[in-house]
Subunit: 312 residues, 2 copies
Amino acid sequence: MTIAEDTELLTVRIAELYYDEDKTQDEIGALLGVTRWKVGRLLTRAREHGIVRIEIVHPRARRLGVERELRERFGLKDAIVIPDADDLRSRVAQAAADYLASFRPVPRTLGISWGRTLDEVAAHLPQGWARGVTVVQINGGVSLNRRAGTASTTAVTIAEKANGQAVLLPSPAILERLETKRAIESDRTVASVIDKAAAASVYLYSAGVADASSVLVDSGYLTTGDVEELVRKGAVGDVVGRYIDANGNPVDPGLDERTVGLGLEQLRATETAIFVVAGEAKHDIARAVVTSGLCTVIVTDEATAAALLEEE
Amino acid sequence: MTIAEDTELLTVRIAELYYDEDKTQDEIGALLGVTRWKVGRLLTRAREHGIVRIEIVHPRARRLGVERELRERFGLKDAIVIPDADDLRSRVAQAAADYLASFRPVPRTLGISWGRTLDEVAAHLPQGWARGVTVVQINGGVSLNRRAGTASTTAVTIAEKANGQAVLLPSPAILERLETKRAIESDRTVASVIDKAAAASVYLYSAGVADASSVLVDSGYLTTGDVEELVRKGAVGDVVGRYIDANGNPVDPGLDERTVGLGLEQLRATETAIFVVAGEAKHDIARAVVTSGLCTVIVTDEATAAALLEEE
DNA sequence: AATTAACTTGCTCATATGAGCAAATCGTGC
DNA sequence: GCACGATTTGCTCATATGAGCAAGTTAATT
């Protein structure tokens, strides 16, 4: 319903007097010759029609309305959505750090994946965000060729800042032969870590895009050709080192079997799996994760949230 | 006073719940574990610190705060300031039209000057903005070379829309010889118009910049050289055909004497002189008009208002 | 012209909110 | 360590505001 021309002008004057001049609805009514009830009603309409725009301008601002929609639409336990801004990645990481730091009950064991996004989350956690949390890596990832420890520093940073300890998974992310994978998994050191990982009360992970920019390619576990092949099979991205299609299923069961770490089913079965994603490139993988129930909590930006919510 | 880091975060959450989620301060308090009074106080601070920004988005919006400052600073009877926007000229003209249409008591006689700005004001006046107003031209202006009647259409339009009549001043704006000016002024037709003009209850006029773009140059009354000379003498622009300096005094007494129409002193002495100005180029002339008491009401844009208010 | 149906208006009443104040808390300088 | 001023806190109370409702208006349809 549109507002009549003259009513609209009156509405604007009322809005100015109320919001800019801090006058009471009574005073405004007397001033403009209308009843205070009409003033109130027109103010309500002014807000509804966007004539009065109320905005919260702050780096830590969130979009609670969108969060609620996400929760309801996908049955999530929680959703954190930050408004669109320049440094999306960093803002979302900040929000994830805030969320983790205020999560109650404080997890005794926290299972994490690794990657650029997780690194940022770790960096944004405040010193002493918790007292005594064990941080376990949930997927393999000793870097093969780059600065060793990229994966482990994330876990160590998070643990240190919580005055807890990090439990690293001393294994490659993906092995070439299934037998090797079985062998390494049965190794006591590795097995105990995987057990701990499976017993974590909270998981925190991100996702990668299925293209040449993937950390798995970067780290030498896969070639660009491998990824192209996976995309041909329907891969939209990877979660804890496992490539999935739009339905959340592993695109290549053979590859999946050779991947060390928590399985997707285990992730789906957990109470709290916090999924952190930011950026246009990850809209597809985000949709796959959310619709296939891989997470119970999502931390993301408004554009990604909108993409998830749009159309059926 | 700055807000502490954690308080600030709390403030943002509160603002979101209050403004985006329409929760009551009580509910928010319960939710976040603070008293409702603290919630209220933090909301006040959020508004003060600009974390919550309330904006009125509308082509007819105004800046009441700035208007008050202008009134107080320059002792004006009224001031109308529109927010910065693209089509400043048109917006300001609209505002002037709105102001004139709602002016009470409705003037029996309205004295107007002419020019691009006044034309726009006339165009924005709604049909039937008043019933029976006599519109008198207050300065000469039969165009010498362009489409004749540019000046008169303004008056005619305004009068027609008010179901009143226009009284035109059938005289050039500036004459070459003082004797000719005296002669024309003593002509009965001209004299009666000037009398009517002097008796108007409300005046509406704009101002021109002292440069080659002036309508007086355009109309052939002055050459570019004349204007350059005037600028050298300190001219900042013209008001009702008369060039003034920064102090509001005629820059060239001789020229001023040869200009037909209401004198500046008469304008200064009137009850209601509405001055319409828009645009960066007119900041100087606007300042001259306002500080020298040539107007009692100003209609302008925010940038011009800011220029008037800055320093000193 | 008569009859609905859809709005709008003015109002009562319950609730939300801000002003103002005393008590508590926090810093700071001695 | 203590005393003093500055803030902050929790509160009472007066006021501002929105929900809900009945009466009045308007517009559309027959």
